[in-house]
Symmetry: C2
Subunit: 244 residues, 2 copies
């Protein structure tokens, strides 16, 4: 499959939309950082507007180059609205730690987040839509699109694939330990610590109607119980998109 990386690690232009204003030393605009945060995630939150009312909908997504893709029911409100080419903001957040400081002001969390801005459009070309439906499965489970039943006519029609070019984006990262006011370290008797937070896979629960003797595909070896989901997703993403 084609390498979907941009030719270089150019930064996204900083505009009034994507500029990180608060704690701006946490801001990141380079594609490598932004891509890594996106490609380690399965679920994003998409903001869009219908009749002046904002909605924030969680959904699965993935990235190819500077394009983001997601899908939905063709009849869904989100998809019908986004199909009009409206502006959206697609956000991914990884929670990495709780940070307990000696003042409320310096309590924090460690996180990696990306806010990507663009206009959503429907993927109307049937061949492109089929390719993307396969990629959505393979991006999580490499090679799986070849094992499963392909969409029938009704399923194909009922599913809408949406795409969006990243017009601009920003990343924001906090990856520090406790950072208190100098006088508080000795002056405040509050036990302070950082608690790492990780999202991990459990042991697979096979479908009770599994065909007897059907082996687990070799590609699933990376889905080890106890493994961090963001690391698994990064690995399966690379397996699908970065090898010939």
């Amino acid at each position: 499959m084609a390498d979907v990386e941009a030719a270089d690690n150019a930064a996204f232009e900083v505009t009034e939309v994507n500029r990180v204003r608060r704690v701006h030393d946490r801001g990141r605009y380079d594609r490598q950082t932004i891509y890594e945060i996106l490609d380690a995630a399965l679920v994003c939150h998409i903001a869009y507007v219908i009749d002046g009312q904002p909605y924030c909908t969680p959904t699965g997504f993935w990235r190819e180059g500077d394009h983001l893709y997601w899908h939905g029911s063709s009849a869904s409100r989100m998809i019908r609205q986004q199909a009009r080419g409206i502006p959206v903001c697609l956000t991914v957040t990884h929670l990495d730690a709780l940070v307990m400081a000696r003042s409320g002001f310096h309590h924090s969390i460690n996180y990696r987040a990306v806010m990507a801005y663009g206009h959503a459009h429907v993927i109307s070309d049937a061949a492109e839509k089929t390719r993307l439906m396969d990629n959505f499965i393979d991006r999580i489970y490499p090679g799986r699109s070849k094992l499963i039943r392909q969409p029938n006519k009704g399923e194909f029609k009922a599913t809408t694939m949406m795409g969006m070019e990243i017009e601009t984006a920003s990343g924001k990262v906090r990856d520090k330990h406790v950072a208190d006011e100098e006088e508080d370290y000795a002056g405040v008797s509050a036990w302070s610590a950082l608690y790492p937070v990780t999202q991990v896979l459990g042991a697979p629960q096979e479908c009770v109607r599994q065909i007897p003797g059907l082996p687990m595909p070799g590609e699933m070896a990376v889905f080890q119980p106890g493994t961090k989901l963001d690391e698994v997703l990064t690995e399966t993403y690379r397996a699908t998109f970065k090898q010939p």
Copy 2:
């Protein structure tokens, strides 16, 4: 501290805004379900609009009764905009499992999500703001607001507390195993399974400048390494808001 539950478990009214349209058997409108999903979370995503551009910002939050609270820098774009009383949608999502089916159409994830709709407002009363700043800390770390240094004048001014009454809300839950088309169970040779996903705490990393001999507060006992974060947050929420 006062019990913040509503007097009954009345459902939120179903309107054109909050009605779950797709896979509507996953829709939940009762307060108990919606509260449980919210109170098990630390981070939400808030959708709001500036000059027609939607934004989706991740931030910490908590609930008291039918009110949701979050905070931000007084100078932040999000806070300055939301202070005008604009409509927002605050969404919480817990990812619970990856579900590998025998067709792309039936691949899914298990999740618990809430979308809550309302109008944001600034908490301008100083006493109320102080109470909420303490609650934000205590909601995560019970009793901690009494241990730490209180905000100084500059910190108090630099922090804006925002609140929103939940005008309407919907929950959406998938908690099933693989659910394939009947003919695919035997007809498709694709190994199928459910992988649980959990967000867990790691072992605490104490601040290197800890006052020597300072003991971990007893309230932190629930922060056991390996514990699920949503369960810890549910427990600390109850410890702070449901006991006299």
